[in-house]
Structures are given as structure tokens and as C-alpha cells.
């Protein structure tokens, strides 16, 4: 491959696909390289697709994208070992097109997105792992793949290679991930008939429910569980900070944690009879604002998970991936149109547009959240137990008067966590979310 490209995009996840699509659409000569057998074969997600970010690049994606269900109800459950206290938010507003969010299956969705990228004119090569970046001093001039004669040159290389970004590390753009900045998530897909799903979750055809869970199930580790409805399958998973898995004195394995979640009396009836067809694991970069590395330099840019662009508080990632991919591509297109070289000076415009977008604004808003959760393990141990015990005391009819019950509940909170701790935690959480 002696050819030279305007841009090489490494990876065919949402960030890489958006970048390659946008560049190709503008008439640039784009090479995209993906190590999987097909786009999506290496990728794992919950998965909720937020329409907005995709709509900005493919406005009519609803016509043929493989979408499972549009979400009409969001549940947030706090679990202790045998009960849950939760909120359900369902709105008919979510039941009117254009829908705001969908459940998807990544292997299928990525394949579809990739077909659009190729239609737009990008050249895609699969089953090819990029082994390292070709550098000329501190300038990136191309990539070397694990194929014969696998050196390819380009004016700019966009790293859309996901959370583990071996390439950026080898090139010295940033250091190793920190275990305290990534969550390890495991999940399974369970198949069952559409009608059963609709009955169990009280929904009609094409309507979906998502449940986010936190509580004692994570054994004090900072983490959450999730259960999403697809068309004829459910996705169930749990993720905790990797540092917490490592430090857990019980040495609980991720799959044991998932099994515990599946057996929880509030969950088991919802997934009963589901046929398990796949077991996955993946890291999620949850370090937030403070963990975002330098994302541009001489002839290179970083987009998506590779740059740590995930909003853990709202469980958003793929939309940040698509948005960063688009903004990077637009920067290259503008530079090219202006006849500018792809230097760090030129590519800085990418960082400026990131700062201007919801991506960095949201990450900045929640910049202290990872630390607050890390410092207050009570959110995952004491509080869920207290909340559910309070609910039980309140809802059990046993001849005890309500005032006594209320006093009992308050007392249980106070003795479990002295006032100062309680108020402090609440204040810190409020500040982190503010």
C-alpha cells in the first residue's frame, strides 16, 4: 500500500465511524482500519443509543438502522439483598416520534453504521490490527498494521481505537489507564419471546424499559447494574470500578457478581426463562474530566473512549464518541479547505470545539463525582440497606403507630451513620451533581 490518504481512522466503533463518515462525505480520501472480523465484533455496550448525536450526521438513520426498542420508561432501583426501592419514570412524550433514545445491539448497529461509511466513500479494511503509529520525530505520518507491507501514510491519523488505546500509549501520547479511572463491566444477553418481554415490562411492541440499579449487590464497590429490554432479548450486566474489584476483600469475581444480580429476588422473575446466548466484558473510561488526556498533536487526534469521553453520571458514551468523532472530522475538513497543514497548531481547533460542546461542559460539570463516590462507599453499602429497611418499616402494618415508625427510621439512619457523615455525604453528592 504505497498510497497516501488524507486521513486514516483506526477503529470502527461509533467514534471512528462518525469521523470516517464525516470525512468521506466531504470528499476526503479516507482509510479506516478495524481489527475485528466485521465492525462491531469486538464491541460491547449496554446499549442505549441517544438519537441526537447520530441524527446530526445521519438525519434519516431511523429508516434502516437496526434499532431494538425506543425507551419509554426509565427505572432507578436501589437494591439491598432481598428487596428494592425504586422510581419509575414513564412518559407518553417518549412514545411520540422522533424518539429520543433506543436500545440497540452493538454488533448489528456498528455493522450498519459501517455500511453507511463505505457508501460515503471511505475505504474500510477489517481483520487488521494497527500495531503502531509511524512517527517522524513527534509527527505522526501513518500507521503500521499486522499485514504484509502494512505501512500506510496519511496527513492525519484519528485514533478511535477505544478504551485500551494501545496505540496512544505506545506512541507516548499518554500513560497507562489507572484502575481507579475505569469500570469493568460484564453482561449477558438473554433471549425470550417478544410477547413475554412486553407482558413482564408492561409495554407494547417497539416500546422499551431500562432499569439502572445500585445497592448492596456491588458489595461496597462503586458500581451499578443494568437491565435493558431489546426486541426479543434482555441485556443484564453489572460494572464496578476496576480498582474496587482489585481491592475487594471478598475477591469476588465479576461473573459471580453478575450471577448474584440475576438471582436477586427482584430481578430473577423478570429474566426467568431467558436463554443466555453470549457473555461479554469491557472497560468503561469513567475518570471523567480530570482523566481526559491531550487529544491532538502533530498529525494525530484522539476521539471517543480512547480519549476517555464518557459521562458516567448519565451513562452516556456512544453519543460523546460520535460527537467527538464528528468534531475531529470537521476540524480536519476545515483545515484542508483552508490549505493548512495538520499540525498541532491547526488541530487545536478540535479541542476548542470540544470545549464549546456539551461533551466538555458535561464532563466539567461532574468533574468531582468520581472522587465523591470513591470517598463515600456508604452509597453502595449502608444507604441501600437503610432505605429499604425504612420502606419496609413504613409499609408493614403491624399495629405500631406511624409516629413511632418514623422515629425508628430516623434512628436507624442516625445510628448507622452519624449525622455529620450523612449530611456530609448528601452535601458532597449534591455539589458533585450541581
Amino acid at each position: 500500500m504505497a498510497e497516501k490518504f488524507d486521513a486514516i481512522v483506526v477503529g470502527a466503533g461509533p467514534s471512528g465511524n462518525t469521523a470516517a463518515y464525516t470525512l468521506a462525505k466531504a470528499g476526503l480520501k479516507v482509510l479506516q482500519i478495524e481489527r475485528g472480523e466485521y465492525p462491531g465484533s469486538k464491541n460491547v455496550q449496554g446499549a442505549i443509543l441517544y438519537a441526537d448525536a447520530l441524527e446530526k450526521v445521519i438525519p434519516d438513520f431511523r429508516d434502516d438502522a437496526p434499532l431494538e426498542r425506543h425507551v419509554i420508561e426509565q427505572r432507578i432501583w436501589v437494591l439491598d439483598d432481598n428487596s428494592f426501592v425504586g422510581t419509575h419514570y414513564r412518559s407518553d412524550d417518549y412514545n411520540k416520534p422522533p424518539y429520543n433514545r433506543y436500545t440497540i445491539i452493538r454488533a448489528q448497529f456498528d455493522k450498519w453504521f459501517s455500511s453507511k461509511v463505505r457508501e460515503a466513500g471511505a475505504l474500510l479494511i477489517c481483520e487488521t490490527t494497527v500495531e503502531e503509529l509511524l512517527m517522524d520525530g513527534d509527527r505522526c505520518i501513518g500507521v503500521r498494521c499486522d499485514r504484509k507491507g502494512g505501512e500506510v501514510h496519511a496527513d492525519v491519523v484519528i485514533l478511535a481505537d477505544g478504551v485500551n488505546s494501545t496505540l496512544a500509549r505506545k506512541a507516548g501520547f499518554h500513560g497507562e489507564l489507572k484502575a481507579g479511572n475505569v469500570a469493568l463491566a460484564v453482561k449477558e444477553i438473554l433471549f425470550m419471546p417478544e410477547e413475554v418481554i412486553q407482558q413482564r415490562f408492561n409495554i407494547n411492541e417497539e416500546e422499551g424499559v431500562v432499569i439502572e440499579m445500585m445497592g448492596t449487590l456491588t458489595e461496597g464497590m462503586v458500581g451499578t447494574g443494568f437491565l435493558y429490554t431489546n426486541k426479543d432479548s434482555l441485556t443484564i450486566g453489572v460494572g464496578c470500578m476496576l480498582s474496587d474489584f482489585k481491592a475487594n476483600p471478598l475477591k469476588t469475581t465479576p461473573y459471580a457478581l453478575l450471577e448474584k444480580l440475576k438471582k436477586h429476588p427482584s430481578i430473577a422473575p423478570l429474566i426467568e426463562g431467558g436463554e443466555m446466548k453470549e457473555y461479554c466484558a469491557h472497560l468503561i473510561p469513567e475518570g471523567g474530566f480530570h482523566a481526559v488526556p491531550k487529544v491532538y498533536g502533530e498529525g494525530w487526534m484522539i476521539v471517543g473512549d480512547s480519549g476517555g469521553f464518557v459521562n458516567a453520571a448519565h451513562r452516556e458514551g456512544s453519543n460523546l464518541a460520535m460527537t467527538t468523532g464528528r468534531l475531529a472530522a470537521e476540524t480536519v475538513i476545515a483545515a484542508k479547505a483552508a490549505g493548512k497543514p495538520m499540525t498541532a497548531r491547526t488541530l487545536k481547533a478540535y479541542k476548542d470545539s470540544l470545549d464549546d460542546s456539551f461533551v466538555m461542559k458535561d464532563l466539567h460539570k461532574y468533574r468531582e463525582l468520581p472522587q465523591v463516590l470513591h470517598d463515600s462507599p456508604h452509597f453502595f453499602t449502608t444507604y441501600p440497606t437503610l432505605v429499604s429497611r425504612a420502606a419496609k418499616t413504613f409499609f408493614t402494618v403491624d399495629g405500631v403507630d406511624k409516629k413511632t415508625k418514623q422515629r425508628e427510621i430516623l434512628g436507624s439512619f442516625r445510628s448507622a451513620r452519624r449525622w455529620r457523615g450523612l449530611v456530609g455525604d448528601a452535601f458532597k453528592l449534591w455539589r458533585a451533581f450541581r
Binding site: R35, G36, E37, G40, S41, K42, N43, V44, Q45, A47, I105, R106, A107, Q108, D110, C126, E127, T128, T129, C145, D146, R147, V163, N164, T166, E176, L177, K178, A179, V182, L184, V186, E188, I189, S233, L242, S243, F245, K246, L250, K251, T252, T253, P254, Y255, A256, E259, K260, K263, M276, K277, E278, Y279, C280, A281, H282, L283
Partner: protein, 97 residues
């Protein structure tokens, strides 16, 4: 904690194993044996690729690897994990993801 057979889960997955070319390697087996107290890879790995042997040795078989990267990231004290992605087209092939 419930006993879980992870092999049964992995059995559902599709892999194209690159025989004889493991993409992850323990750099120095003696370091696991002599210097690592925690051996956290043996319980953090979601595919149970790392096994604690009776004699404090740690063995690694990557066939069921889900390519998450956790083993590399947690081995911070000793950085004893040489971690690469498999050759293009090999390794885990998610049908759903």
C-alpha cells in the same frame, strides 16, 4: 458467594483462536510467584484466564479472553503483563456485544 462456572458462559461465545500465538503473556513467572502478594488477576479477570496454582505460581491461558484489558491495568505494582490485541480477525467475535 455463589459458585459460578464461567467456562459454561464462555462456551456460548464465538472465538477464532490464534493457535500458538497468545496475545497476552506473563512477562516473568517468578514475579507472580515471589513478589506479588495479591495476585488479583486470578479473581478480577472476567474470563478466568489466570489461575492461582497451589505453589503460588500463576498460569495464563488466553483462549477465553474477552479482550477487556483489566489484567494489564491492575498489574500496576509489577507491570508483569505483556498485553497486545490478537492479530486482526482473531480472538473474541461478539455476535451481539
Amino acid at each position: 458467594m455463589i459458585a459460578v462456572n464461567v467456562e459454561e458462559k464462555l462456551f456460548q461465545n464465538r472465538y477464532k483462536v490464534d493457535h500458538g500465538r497468545p496475545h497476552i503473556q506473563i512477562k516473568d513467572a517468578d514475579v507472580c510467584k515471589n513478589d506479588c502478594e495479591a495476585q488479583s488477576c486470578t479473581y478480577v479477570c472476567p474470563a478466568s484466564c489466570y489461575k492461582a496454582e497451589g505453589n503460588r505460581a500463576v498460569t495464563l491461558i488466553t483462549d477465553g479472553c474477552l479482550e477487556c484489558g483489566s489484567c494489564r491495568v491492575i498489574c500496576t505494582e509489577h507491570t508483569n503483563v505483556a498485553w497486545e490485541y490478537p492479530r486482526g480477525g482473531h480472538g473474541i467475535l461478539f455476535k451481539f456485544g
